[in-house]
Amino acid sequence: MGKPKVATTSLCGCFGCHMSLLDIDDRILKLIELVDFDKSPIDDIKEFSGRCAIGLVEGGCCNEENVKVLQSFRKNCDILILVGECAMTGGIPAMRNTIPLKECLEEAYINGPTVHNPSGKIPNDPEIPLLLNKVYPCQDVVKIDYYLPGCPPPADTIWQALVALLTDEPVELPYELIKYD
Protein backbone atom coordinates (compact mmCIF):
# COMPACT_ATOMS: atom_id res chain seq x y z
CA MET A 1 0.00 0.00 0.00
CA GLY A 2 1.33 3.43 -0.97
CA LYS A 3 1.65 6.39 1.30
CA PRO A 4 -1.50 8.37 2.10
CA LYS A 5 -1.96 11.42 -0.09
CA VAL A 6 -2.35 15.03 1.05
CA ALA A 7 -3.87 17.78 -1.11
CA THR A 8 -3.77 21.50 -0.31
CA THR A 9 -5.33 24.61 -1.82
CA SER A 10 -5.54 28.32 -1.22
CA LEU A 11 -8.99 29.73 -1.96
CA CYS A 12 -9.66 33.35 -0.95
CA GLY A 13 -6.48 33.51 1.15
CA CYS A 14 -3.03 35.11 1.02
CA PHE A 15 -0.92 31.91 0.94
CA GLY A 16 0.28 32.78 4.44
CA CYS A 17 -1.05 29.47 5.75
CA HIS A 18 0.90 27.59 3.06
CA MET A 19 3.96 29.58 4.15
CA SER A 20 3.28 28.39 7.68
CA LEU A 21 3.14 24.79 6.41
CA LEU A 22 6.58 25.31 4.82
CA ASP A 23 7.67 26.81 8.14
CA ILE A 24 7.83 23.29 9.64
CA ASP A 25 11.38 23.53 8.24
CA ASP A 26 13.31 20.25 8.03
CA ARG A 27 10.32 18.35 9.35
CA ILE A 28 9.02 18.58 5.79
CA LEU A 29 11.50 15.76 5.05
CA LYS A 30 9.77 13.63 7.68
CA LEU A 31 6.41 14.67 6.26
CA ILE A 32 7.26 13.42 2.75
CA GLU A 33 8.28 10.10 4.31
CA LEU A 34 4.77 9.90 5.76
CA VAL A 35 2.75 11.24 2.80
CA ASP A 36 2.71 12.05 -0.90
CA PHE A 37 1.47 15.46 -1.96
CA ASP A 38 -1.30 15.38 -4.55
CA LYS A 39 -3.12 18.45 -5.94
CA SER A 40 -1.35 21.37 -4.29
CA PRO A 41 0.40 24.64 -5.12
CA ILE A 42 3.47 23.17 -3.36
CA ASP A 43 4.13 20.66 -6.18
CA ASP A 44 1.98 22.47 -8.77
CA ILE A 45 -0.21 19.43 -9.45
CA LYS A 46 -3.43 20.93 -10.84
CA GLU A 47 -5.88 18.01 -10.70
CA PHE A 48 -6.55 15.22 -8.22
CA SER A 49 -4.74 12.04 -9.29
CA GLY A 50 -6.74 9.86 -6.92
CA ARG A 51 -8.37 9.68 -3.51
CA CYS A 52 -6.59 11.73 -0.81
CA ALA A 53 -6.48 11.00 2.91
CA ILE A 54 -6.25 14.65 3.95
CA GLY A 55 -7.19 17.93 2.29
CA LEU A 56 -5.89 21.21 3.73
CA VAL A 57 -7.93 24.27 2.75
CA GLU A 58 -6.72 27.83 3.20
CA GLY A 59 -9.03 30.80 2.57
CA GLY A 60 -12.79 31.25 2.36
CA CYS A 61 -15.08 31.28 -0.68
CA CYS A 62 -15.31 34.64 -2.44
CA ASN A 63 -16.10 33.43 -5.98
CA GLU A 64 -17.69 30.53 -7.84
CA GLU A 65 -14.32 28.93 -8.59
CA ASN A 66 -13.52 28.79 -4.84
CA VAL A 67 -16.79 26.93 -4.29
CA LYS A 68 -16.07 24.44 -7.08
CA VAL A 69 -12.53 23.75 -5.80
CA LEU A 70 -13.82 23.34 -2.25
CA GLN A 71 -16.51 20.93 -3.42
CA SER A 72 -13.90 18.91 -5.36
CA PHE A 73 -11.78 18.75 -2.18
CA ARG A 74 -14.74 17.45 -0.21
CA LYS A 75 -15.40 14.87 -2.92
CA ASN A 76 -11.79 13.66 -3.18
CA CYS A 77 -10.54 13.88 0.44
CA ASP A 78 -11.40 11.60 3.37
CA ILE A 79 -10.61 14.28 5.95
CA LEU A 80 -11.01 17.97 5.19
CA ILE A 81 -9.15 20.45 7.43
CA LEU A 82 -9.63 24.20 7.39
CA VAL A 83 -6.34 26.00 7.94
CA GLY A 84 -6.42 29.60 9.17
CA GLU A 85 -8.99 32.25 9.97
CA CYS A 86 -10.02 33.14 6.39
CA ALA A 87 -11.18 29.58 5.72
CA MET A 88 -13.34 29.42 8.86
CA THR A 89 -14.46 33.04 9.39
CA GLY A 90 -13.98 34.65 5.96
CA GLY A 91 -11.14 36.66 7.51
CA ILE A 92 -9.84 39.88 5.97
CA PRO A 93 -11.72 39.37 2.64
CA ALA A 94 -14.97 39.18 4.63
CA MET A 95 -14.55 42.87 5.50
CA ARG A 96 -16.56 43.42 2.32
CA ASN A 97 -19.51 41.42 3.66
CA THR A 98 -21.16 44.50 5.14
CA ILE A 99 -20.87 46.45 1.85
CA PRO A 100 -23.06 45.59 -1.19
CA LEU A 101 -21.01 43.91 -3.96
CA LYS A 102 -21.94 46.59 -6.52
CA GLU A 103 -20.55 49.32 -4.26
CA CYS A 104 -17.33 47.32 -3.71
CA LEU A 105 -16.75 46.90 -7.45
CA GLU A 106 -17.59 50.53 -8.21
CA GLU A 107 -15.14 51.70 -5.55
CA ALA A 108 -12.43 49.37 -6.88
CA TYR A 109 -12.84 50.06 -10.61
CA ILE A 110 -14.64 53.41 -11.01
CA ASN A 111 -14.85 55.69 -7.98
CA GLY A 112 -11.69 54.92 -6.01
CA PRO A 113 -9.34 57.93 -5.60
CA THR A 114 -6.40 56.17 -7.33
CA VAL A 115 -8.36 54.36 -10.07
CA HIS A 116 -7.18 54.83 -13.66
CA ASN A 117 -9.83 53.18 -15.82
CA PRO A 118 -10.66 55.20 -18.95
CA SER A 119 -13.27 52.64 -20.11
CA GLY A 120 -15.21 53.23 -16.89
CA LYS A 121 -16.23 49.56 -16.99
CA ILE A 122 -16.08 46.92 -14.30
CA PRO A 123 -14.16 43.85 -15.62
CA ASN A 124 -16.66 41.25 -16.77
CA ASP A 125 -14.68 38.76 -18.89
CA PRO A 126 -16.18 35.24 -18.83
CA GLU A 127 -12.68 33.98 -17.88
CA ILE A 128 -12.89 35.83 -14.55
CA PRO A 129 -14.67 33.77 -11.88
CA LEU A 130 -17.91 35.43 -10.78
CA LEU A 131 -17.73 37.01 -7.34
CA LEU A 132 -20.21 35.78 -4.75
CA ASN A 133 -22.46 38.30 -3.00
CA LYS A 134 -20.27 37.89 0.08
CA VAL A 135 -17.33 35.87 1.35
CA TYR A 136 -18.48 32.57 2.84
CA PRO A 137 -16.62 30.58 5.50
CA CYS A 138 -15.89 27.09 4.07
CA GLN A 139 -17.98 25.31 6.71
CA ASP A 140 -21.02 27.14 5.30
CA VAL A 141 -20.40 25.43 1.93
CA VAL A 142 -19.28 21.84 2.68
CA LYS A 143 -18.89 19.61 5.75
CA ILE A 144 -15.54 20.15 7.49
CA ASP A 145 -13.81 17.65 9.79
CA TYR A 146 -11.14 19.69 11.58
CA TYR A 147 -10.29 23.34 12.18
CA LEU A 148 -6.81 24.79 12.74
CA PRO A 149 -7.33 28.45 13.71
CA GLY A 150 -4.67 31.16 13.48
CA CYS A 151 -3.47 33.86 11.13
CA PRO A 152 -1.61 31.84 10.14
CA PRO A 153 -1.79 28.76 12.36
CA PRO A 154 1.72 28.21 13.77
CA ALA A 155 3.80 25.61 11.91
CA ASP A 156 3.68 23.47 15.08
CA THR A 157 -0.12 23.49 14.99
CA ILE A 158 -0.19 22.19 11.42
CA TRP A 159 2.60 19.70 12.10
CA GLN A 160 1.06 18.28 15.28
CA ALA A 161 -2.37 17.97 13.70
CA LEU A 162 -1.02 16.23 10.58
CA VAL A 163 1.14 13.80 12.55
CA ALA A 164 -1.73 13.00 14.91
CA LEU A 165 -4.08 12.24 12.01
CA LEU A 166 -1.49 10.19 10.11
CA THR A 167 -0.66 8.11 13.18
CA ASP A 168 -4.30 7.58 14.23
CA GLU A 169 -3.95 9.69 17.37
CA PRO A 170 -6.57 12.22 18.53
CA VAL A 171 -5.90 15.83 17.43
CA GLU A 172 -5.37 17.57 20.77
CA LEU A 173 -3.58 20.89 20.68
CA PRO A 174 -2.08 22.58 23.77
CA TYR A 175 -3.38 26.01 24.89
CA GLU A 176 -0.44 27.88 23.34
CA LEU A 177 -1.23 26.56 19.86
CA ILE A 178 -4.90 27.55 19.70
CA LYS A 179 -4.77 31.20 18.63
CA TYR A 180 -6.95 33.26 16.33
CA ASP A 181 -4.20 35.64 15.22
Binding site: E85, M88, C151, Y180
Partner: protein, 236 residues
Protein backbone atom coordinates in the same frame (compact mmCIF):
# COMPACT_ATOMS: atom_id res chain seq x y z
CA UNK B 1 -26.24 34.17 64.20
CA UNK B 2 -22.92 33.43 62.54
CA UNK B 3 -21.42 36.12 60.31
CA UNK B 4 -20.06 33.51 57.91
CA UNK B 5 -21.96 31.71 55.19
CA UNK B 6 -20.77 28.29 54.14
CA UNK B 7 -21.73 26.76 50.79
CA UNK B 8 -20.39 24.34 48.21
CA UNK B 9 -18.95 24.95 44.72
CA UNK B 10 -18.40 21.70 42.79
CA UNK B 11 -18.12 19.80 46.10
CA UNK B 12 -15.60 22.24 47.63
CA UNK B 13 -16.59 24.13 50.77
CA UNK B 14 -16.48 27.92 50.30
CA UNK B 15 -16.98 30.68 52.88
CA UNK B 16 -18.67 33.99 52.17
CA UNK B 17 -19.60 37.14 54.07
CA UNK B 18 -23.33 37.90 54.24
CA UNK B 19 -24.33 39.89 51.14
CA UNK B 20 -21.38 38.70 49.05
CA UNK B 21 -22.17 37.29 45.64
CA UNK B 22 -21.23 33.76 44.67
CA UNK B 23 -18.59 35.16 42.29
CA UNK B 24 -16.84 37.32 44.89
CA UNK B 25 -16.75 34.45 47.37
CA UNK B 26 -15.45 32.07 44.69
CA UNK B 27 -12.70 34.54 43.67
CA UNK B 28 -11.53 34.76 47.28
CA UNK B 29 -11.41 30.97 47.46
CA UNK B 30 -9.34 30.73 44.26
CA UNK B 31 -12.19 29.27 42.21
CA UNK B 32 -12.56 30.91 38.80
CA UNK B 33 -16.07 31.45 37.50
CA UNK B 34 -15.78 32.63 33.87
CA UNK B 35 -17.25 36.12 33.25
CA UNK B 36 -17.40 38.85 30.65
CA UNK B 37 -19.58 41.76 31.81
CA UNK B 38 -18.57 41.47 35.47
CA UNK B 39 -15.63 43.57 36.65
CA UNK B 40 -14.21 43.92 40.15
CA UNK B 41 -14.51 47.74 40.11
CA UNK B 42 -18.11 47.79 38.89
CA UNK B 43 -21.46 46.90 40.40
CA UNK B 44 -22.82 43.58 39.06
CA UNK B 45 -24.88 43.87 35.91
CA UNK B 46 -25.70 40.29 34.87
CA UNK B 47 -26.04 40.83 31.13
CA UNK B 48 -23.64 38.38 29.50
CA UNK B 49 -24.68 35.24 31.44
CA UNK B 50 -21.23 33.71 30.94
CA UNK B 51 -20.93 33.33 34.72
CA UNK B 52 -24.12 31.27 34.90
CA UNK B 53 -23.85 28.54 37.53
CA UNK B 54 -26.43 26.04 38.74
CA UNK B 55 -27.58 26.93 42.25
CA UNK B 56 -29.36 23.90 43.68
CA UNK B 57 -30.01 22.95 40.06
CA UNK B 58 -31.32 26.36 38.91
CA UNK B 59 -29.35 28.58 36.50
CA UNK B 60 -28.28 31.86 38.16
CA UNK B 61 -25.66 34.44 37.23
CA UNK B 62 -22.89 34.13 39.83
CA UNK B 63 -22.07 37.86 39.60
CA UNK B 64 -25.52 38.92 40.87
CA UNK B 65 -26.67 35.97 42.98
CA UNK B 66 -25.85 36.36 46.70
CA UNK B 67 -24.22 33.41 48.40
CA UNK B 68 -26.56 31.63 50.80
CA UNK B 69 -26.00 29.08 53.56
CA UNK B 70 -25.84 25.51 52.33
CA UNK B 71 -26.43 26.10 48.60
CA UNK B 72 -24.88 23.65 46.15
CA UNK B 73 -23.25 25.47 43.22
CA UNK B 74 -22.29 23.74 39.98
CA UNK B 75 -19.55 25.68 38.17
CA UNK B 76 -16.74 23.86 36.40
CA UNK B 77 -18.66 20.88 35.04
CA UNK B 78 -18.88 19.57 31.51
CA UNK B 79 -22.45 20.79 31.20
CA UNK B 80 -21.73 24.35 32.36
CA UNK B 81 -18.54 24.66 30.30
CA UNK B 82 -20.43 23.57 27.20
CA UNK B 83 -23.19 26.08 27.88
CA UNK B 84 -20.64 28.87 28.36
CA UNK B 85 -18.78 27.89 25.20
CA UNK B 86 -22.11 28.12 23.34
CA UNK B 87 -22.66 31.63 24.73
CA UNK B 88 -19.17 32.71 23.66
CA UNK B 89 -19.71 31.22 20.20
CA UNK B 90 -23.00 33.13 19.85
CA UNK B 91 -21.24 36.37 20.82
CA UNK B 92 -18.50 35.65 18.26
CA UNK B 93 -20.91 35.17 15.34
CA UNK B 94 -23.21 38.04 16.37
CA UNK B 95 -20.57 40.73 15.80
CA UNK B 96 -17.63 41.10 13.41
CA UNK B 97 -14.85 39.69 15.56
CA UNK B 98 -11.79 39.46 13.30
CA UNK B 99 -8.93 38.60 15.62
CA UNK B 100 -6.19 38.70 12.93
CA UNK B 101 -6.37 42.49 12.60
CA UNK B 102 -7.84 43.50 15.96
CA UNK B 103 -5.58 45.57 18.22
CA UNK B 104 -7.07 43.88 21.27
CA UNK B 105 -6.12 40.37 20.13
CA UNK B 106 -4.13 38.59 22.83
CA UNK B 107 -5.57 40.88 25.51
CA UNK B 108 -9.24 40.34 24.64
CA UNK B 109 -11.43 38.67 27.26
CA UNK B 110 -13.92 37.31 24.72
CA UNK B 111 -11.10 35.70 22.73
CA UNK B 112 -9.46 34.45 25.94
CA UNK B 113 -12.70 32.80 27.05
CA UNK B 114 -13.00 31.08 23.66
CA UNK B 115 -9.40 29.84 24.07
CA UNK B 116 -10.11 28.63 27.58
CA UNK B 117 -13.13 26.66 26.39
CA UNK B 118 -11.18 25.24 23.43
CA UNK B 119 -13.40 26.84 20.78
CA UNK B 120 -11.76 26.20 17.39
CA UNK B 121 -14.54 27.84 15.41
CA UNK B 122 -18.09 28.89 16.36
CA UNK B 123 -20.60 26.23 15.37
CA UNK B 124 -23.15 28.90 14.38
CA UNK B 125 -23.17 30.80 11.06
CA UNK B 126 -21.55 34.24 11.11
CA UNK B 127 -24.07 37.09 10.84
CA UNK B 128 -21.75 39.79 9.41
CA UNK B 129 -23.81 42.70 10.83
CA UNK B 130 -23.31 46.22 9.52
CA UNK B 131 -22.11 48.33 12.45
CA UNK B 132 -20.70 51.83 12.76
CA UNK B 133 -17.24 52.97 13.79
CA UNK B 134 -16.77 56.33 15.54
CA UNK B 135 -13.19 57.55 15.12
CA UNK B 136 -14.02 61.24 15.67
CA UNK B 137 -12.27 61.53 19.04
CA UNK B 138 -8.54 62.35 18.79
CA UNK B 139 -7.48 59.67 21.31
CA UNK B 140 -10.31 57.09 21.51
CA UNK B 141 -11.95 54.83 18.95
CA UNK B 142 -15.36 53.13 19.13
CA UNK B 143 -15.64 50.07 16.90
CA UNK B 144 -19.14 48.68 17.37
CA UNK B 145 -18.27 45.67 15.20
CA UNK B 146 -16.57 44.22 18.27
CA UNK B 147 -19.02 45.37 20.94
CA UNK B 148 -20.61 42.65 23.09
CA UNK B 149 -22.99 45.01 24.94
CA UNK B 150 -21.51 44.20 28.35
CA UNK B 151 -22.16 47.80 29.51
CA UNK B 152 -18.79 48.02 31.23
CA UNK B 153 -18.12 51.40 29.55
CA UNK B 154 -21.64 52.62 30.35
CA UNK B 155 -21.22 51.72 34.02
CA UNK B 156 -17.59 52.85 34.34
CA UNK B 157 -18.27 56.25 32.79
CA UNK B 158 -21.27 56.79 35.05
CA UNK B 159 -20.03 55.21 38.30
CA UNK B 160 -16.23 55.61 38.18
CA UNK B 161 -15.62 58.64 35.94
CA UNK B 162 -18.79 60.52 36.93
CA UNK B 163 -19.42 61.47 33.29
CA UNK B 164 -22.17 59.31 31.79
CA UNK B 165 -20.61 59.43 28.30
CA UNK B 166 -22.01 56.12 27.03
CA UNK B 167 -25.56 54.78 26.87
CA UNK B 168 -27.40 51.97 25.14
CA UNK B 169 -29.75 52.86 22.30
CA UNK B 170 -32.21 50.55 20.53
CA UNK B 171 -33.42 47.07 21.36
CA UNK B 172 -32.65 43.51 20.25
CA UNK B 173 -30.30 43.34 17.27
CA UNK B 174 -30.48 47.16 16.98
CA UNK B 175 -29.09 47.66 20.49
CA UNK B 176 -25.81 49.56 20.44
CA UNK B 177 -23.56 51.81 22.50
CA UNK B 178 -24.04 55.49 21.70
CA UNK B 179 -22.68 58.62 23.31
CA UNK B 180 -24.49 61.51 24.95
CA UNK B 181 -27.16 63.18 22.80
CA UNK B 182 -26.48 60.77 19.94
CA UNK B 183 -23.49 62.93 19.03
CA UNK B 184 -20.02 61.82 18.00
CA UNK B 185 -17.53 60.78 20.66
CA UNK B 186 -15.48 63.91 19.89
CA UNK B 187 -18.46 66.06 20.97
CA UNK B 188 -18.48 64.58 24.49
CA UNK B 189 -16.27 65.13 27.51
CA UNK B 190 -14.77 61.63 27.10
CA UNK B 191 -11.05 61.59 27.81
CA UNK B 192 -8.38 59.01 27.15
CA UNK B 193 -7.65 58.85 30.91
CA UNK B 194 -11.24 57.76 31.63
CA UNK B 195 -11.56 54.38 33.32
CA UNK B 196 -14.31 53.60 30.83
CA UNK B 197 -11.80 53.34 27.97
CA UNK B 198 -9.55 50.61 29.34
CA UNK B 199 -12.33 48.62 30.95
CA UNK B 200 -13.71 47.34 27.61
CA UNK B 201 -13.20 43.54 27.58
CA UNK B 202 -13.02 43.46 23.77
CA UNK B 203 -11.68 45.81 21.09
CA UNK B 204 -14.78 48.01 20.91
CA UNK B 205 -13.26 50.92 22.86
CA UNK B 206 -9.60 51.48 22.08
CA UNK B 207 -6.91 54.04 22.77
CA UNK B 208 -5.46 55.29 19.54
CA UNK B 209 -1.78 54.93 18.60
CA UNK B 210 -0.93 52.16 21.08
CA UNK B 211 -2.13 49.16 19.02
CA UNK B 212 0.15 46.12 18.69
CA UNK B 213 2.62 47.60 21.21
CA UNK B 214 3.01 44.32 23.07
CA UNK B 215 4.57 41.64 20.85
CA UNK B 216 2.84 38.32 20.21
CA UNK B 217 3.87 35.88 22.91
CA UNK B 218 3.94 38.51 25.66
CA UNK B 219 0.29 39.52 25.68
CA UNK B 220 -2.05 38.85 28.58
CA UNK B 221 -3.54 35.56 27.40
CA UNK B 222 -0.81 34.24 25.07
CA UNK B 223 0.49 31.54 27.38
CA UNK B 224 -1.87 31.45 30.37
CA UNK B 225 -5.66 31.04 30.16
CA UNK B 226 -7.95 33.75 31.48
CA UNK B 227 -8.74 33.11 35.15
CA UNK B 228 -5.27 31.70 35.92
CA UNK B 229 -4.60 34.64 38.26
CA UNK B 230 -7.68 33.78 40.33
CA UNK B 231 -6.91 30.05 40.34
CA UNK B 232 -3.33 30.79 41.45
CA UNK B 233 -4.76 32.21 44.70
CA UNK B 234 -6.16 28.82 45.67
CA UNK B 235 -4.81 27.84 49.05
CA UNK B 236 -2.83 31.09 49.29
Amino acid sequence: MSDKITFMIDGVEVQAQPGQTIMVAADAAGIYIPRLCAHKDLAPFGSCRVCTVLVNGRPQSACTQPAAEGIMVENNTKKMTKMRANLIEMLLVEGNHYCPYCEKSGNCELQALAYRFGVMVPKYPFMFPNRDVDASHPDILIDRNRCVLCARCVRASRDLDGKNVFQFVGRGPEKRVEVNANARLADTNADVTDKAVDICPVGALLRKRVGFEVPIGKRLYDSKPIGSDIEAQKGA
